[in-house]
């Protein structure tokens, strides 16, 4: 353990903090009693080692996914609330070492409980080698989902600026619940592989077999877990005043679009064009932009920055998000929009309309950040909700659907392309003009 704790001192601290002898011994005893009770109840019912393995892994991984996530989701939040964060920031530990130390160290007790239950699972494998397939798929899926869930917990904690308020603590439980739900769905999916009609995965036209489908799913969870970890590391690095890298958010968006397109490619639909590959990365840009909190000060420093390389890395998150979104939209249009049948050709315009609305909304968000509002993100959210809801409330009952494309992301088949684009484009130009004026005023303010 020593080289690991030397490399990641956080693990040393969490072990000293969480793993007292009494706590460990009592949990070990509780785990033994639990395994025995489970064994007894299985023996009295199905009397199968497969059922025993299912019960043990259910307990083991749900505990890891939920409790482990609660631990990672409070690690940075707690440091900020208890004012120990500044001390950590001053150590030479890099953002990677801090993030990895917290990721591995914060759930140290959850890992201990996991290890306590491991012999019971191995016992079922030893007595009934026929369950090894189940064993491997459950461990592959269980570990990958638990790691994903804990990484998302760490991400939520890194971005939590509420100073350990109730909402901050709740996020851990919510992410943990989502992790446990994903875990149990993944287990159900793995169980379905043994049935006559398994739900196999098709990705970019590649038909995967039962084993490959489970492995693909596990690799997916690990990949998204790695992205979540990188996101947390990025936010921690911002606190350490480390240099940021401009490519991370665009790379994630491209990966997300590529991943979703893989499924959409395999399930072509004649009645509509696949838009999920555009909508989900767009949602990710929204979330990243709202969490980034780049206000007046940030812009001033960014605009007057002298080092061009650093300026590129410090580009505000919404700009870093919108630019690749335009590229993704163009690529999707080329793949799906150009060759679309007439019935859905008008829908192809959404590949341009959606990024325009995204750009408008994020410029408005930035405009709010230049205002005197103390909560510009909430202000932006409230006005944007109104901007989408009001046109629907007014135009739909009055049957003025011809005006809808001007206010909501909707392509009207009866209107020409120019009429569909005119509304969102005009709003983007107007918002751009207003934002430019705000930026100029803010810069002139303290010059």
């Amino acid at each position: 353990m020593n080289p690991l704790t030397d490399l990641f001192p956080e693990i040393y601290r969490y072990r000293a903090q969480e793993a007292g002898r009494v706590k460990l011994l009592s949990s070990l005893a509780a785990a033994l009693v639990l395994c025995a009770a489970l064994g007894y109840s299985v023996a009295k019912t199905t009397a199968s080692w497969g059922s025993y393995l299912s019960a043990v892994t259910f307990l083991q991984f749900n505990m890891l996914a939920f409790y482990g996530t609660v631990c990672t989701a409070r690690c940075v939040t707690q440091e900020r609330a208890e004012r120990t964060w500044d001390f950590q920031r001053l150590t030479p530990l890099s953002s990677f070492k801090i993030a990895a130390g917290k990721f591995l160290g914060a759930p140290v007790f959850a890992w201990f409980l996991f290890a306590c239950l491991l012999p019971a699972a191995l016992l079922s494998l030893a007595f009934s080698p026929s369950v090894y397939g189940d064993f491997l798929s459950r461990y592959a899926l269980g570990l990958s989902v638990a790691l994903l869930s804990m990484a998302v917990g760490l991400l939520a904690s890194a971005y939590d600026e509420t100073g350990g308020s109730g909402m901050g603590h709740l996020s851990g439980a919510l992410v943990g619940l989502a992790g446990a739900t994903t875990l149990n769905s993944a287990f159900r999916y793995a169980d379905s592989m043994g049935r006559p009609l398994p739900q196999l995965i098709s990705f970019y036209g590649l038909e995967l077999g039962p084993v490959q489908s489970v492995l693909f799913l596990a690799a997916t969870f690990l990949a998204f877990g790695a992205w979540a970890f990188l996101g947390a590391r990025y936010r921690i690095g911002r606190d350490l005043l480390e240099r940021k890298r401009a490519w991370r958010l665009p790379a994630f968006l491209v990966f997300l679009a590529w991943y979703i397109t893989g499924f959409e490619y395999s399930a072509p639909r004649d009645a509509s064009l696949p838009l999920t590959a555009l909508i989900l990365p767009g949602l990710a840009v929204y979330i990243a932009s709202f969490l980034s909190c780049e206000g007046r000060e940030y812009w001033r420093r960014w605009l007057v920055g002298e080092n061009p390389e650093r300026r590129l890395d410090d580009t505000p998150a919404w700009l870093k998000g919108v630019v690749p979104m335009l590229g993704i939209a163009a690529a999707l249009y080329l793949v799906y929009g150009l060759g679309a049948v007439d019935a859905v050709k008008a829908q192809g315009r959404l590949y341009l309309i959606l990024p325009l609305f995204l750009l408008r909304d994020l410029m408005f968000l930035q405009w709010c950040r230049f205002s005197a509002s103390r909560r510009p993100e909430m202000m932006a959210l409230a006005y944007l909700a109104l901007a989408y809801a009001l046109p629907l409330i007014i135009l739909l009952p009055t049957k003025m659907t011809g005006a809808l494309p001007a206010f909501v992301p909707y392509a009207n088949r009866e209107l020409g392309a120019a009429a569909n684009f005119a509304g969102p484009l005009a709003q983007v130009l107007l918002m751009g003009y207003l934002l430019r004026a705000r930026i100029k005023a803010a810069l002139a303010d303290k010059a």
Binding site: N2, Q88, L90, L240
Partner: protein, 310 residues
């Protein structure tokens, strides 16, 4: 200057519409112990945070131990030990574990770690508390433990924000002894505090901040001179004030005046002139019982600075 450990240039920090630190230029010589004084909201904490590179300046720069805070903030962290005004400690671990954790974080080699921790515990007078839980420590001990953490990587510069705040007189005295020891060991200290009289014993320099502006900065004598404050000297002699008054006037100090049993005079000359005056009094046959400056310390200088217009 080559031997300045801190140099700032037009250092500025804004929080929205509020400017906490306004284009400050100052420097701190290596080995100095600087008192950073000023009322609440003067910008002391913001300045210390910028110097320790935990807060980015809005404009301007600071070079700490040869490293620019804007260019390499992580490099600055290696040169400073920073104690913020409000801080927390990891409560559930022992004092030794706390220091062990930070020793690992600062990359102290495994073979040296034990020695570094023992030395630090001795430095901050916590050698007897190594096994105690952090949550069981008194406030003064917690403060010393936090200072111990700042010493682990042997930084040449210590930035301490209100270290004596909320401590009882005994703990403050212990802290004062610790600072004197650290200063004696050649470290540069910048200490912000409200308890000005306690700073006098070990501070060599003073910087006065008000509303984000640097009112004065330098050695105590330089600051006193810059705010135009004269020194007030008190003389007490055997046989009452009358004899002393006559002797002083005879020595050319016409402004001398008796107050109670003593005589006071304002003095604006150099440090080396005072012994000359004392010699003249003694040569004139006066039996001097007391001859010394009254109220020329940091507190009086600071109070006098409040009268100075920004």
């Amino acid at each position: 200057m080559k031997d300045d450990i801190v140099t700032t240039s037009a250092l500025r920090r804004e929080y929205g519409d509020v400017t906490a630190v306004k284009d400050i230029d100052f420097s701190v010589p290596r080995g100095a112990v600087m008192a950073l004084v000023g009322p609440n909201g003067a910008g002391k904490s913001t300045l210390l945070k910028m110097l320790s590179a935990v807060l980015e300046p809005t404009r301007g720069t600071a070079v700490v131990n040869g490293v620019d805070v804007n260019v390499n903030p992580r490099g600055v962290h290696a040169s400073v030990g920073f104690l913020p005004d409000f801080f927390g400690l990891y409560e559930e671990i022992s004092v030794a574990e706390y220091l062990e954790y930070f020793a690992r974080a600062y990359g102290v080699p495994r073979g040296l770690r034990e020695g570094v921790i023992s030395r630090t515990l001795a430095d901050v007078d916590l050698a007897g508390k190594a096994g105690a839980r952090v949550q069981a420590l008194s406030r003064g001990m917690r403060q010393r433990l936090a200072i111990g953490r700042t010493l682990l990587h042997e930084p040449p510069l210590l930035l301490l924000d209100e270290p004596a705040s909320g401590l009882d007189p005994e703990s403050r005295h212990d802290l004062q002894k610790l600072f004197t020891r650290l200063a004696g060991a050649g470290r540069t200290l910048i200490v912000s505090s409200h308890i000005l009289t306690e700073l006098e014993d070990y501070c060599t320099h003073v910087a006065i901040l008000r509303e984000g502006n640097l009112v004065a900065c330098g050695s105590l004598a330089e600051v006193r001179a810059s705010i135009g404050r004269k020194r007030r000297v008190r003389v007490r002699a055997a046989g009452g004030a009358e004899g002393a008054l006559l002797a002083l006037r005879a020595a050319g100090l016409e402004g001398a005046a008796a107050e109670g049993g003593s005589v006071f005079f304002d003095f604006s000359g150099g440090e080396e002139e005072l012994p000359g005056i004392l010699k003249r009094l003694l040569d004139g046959g006066l039996k001097v019982l007391h001859f010394g400056e009254e109220g020329g310390g940091i507190q009086e200088t600071y109070l006098a600075s409040l009268e100075k217009k920004l």
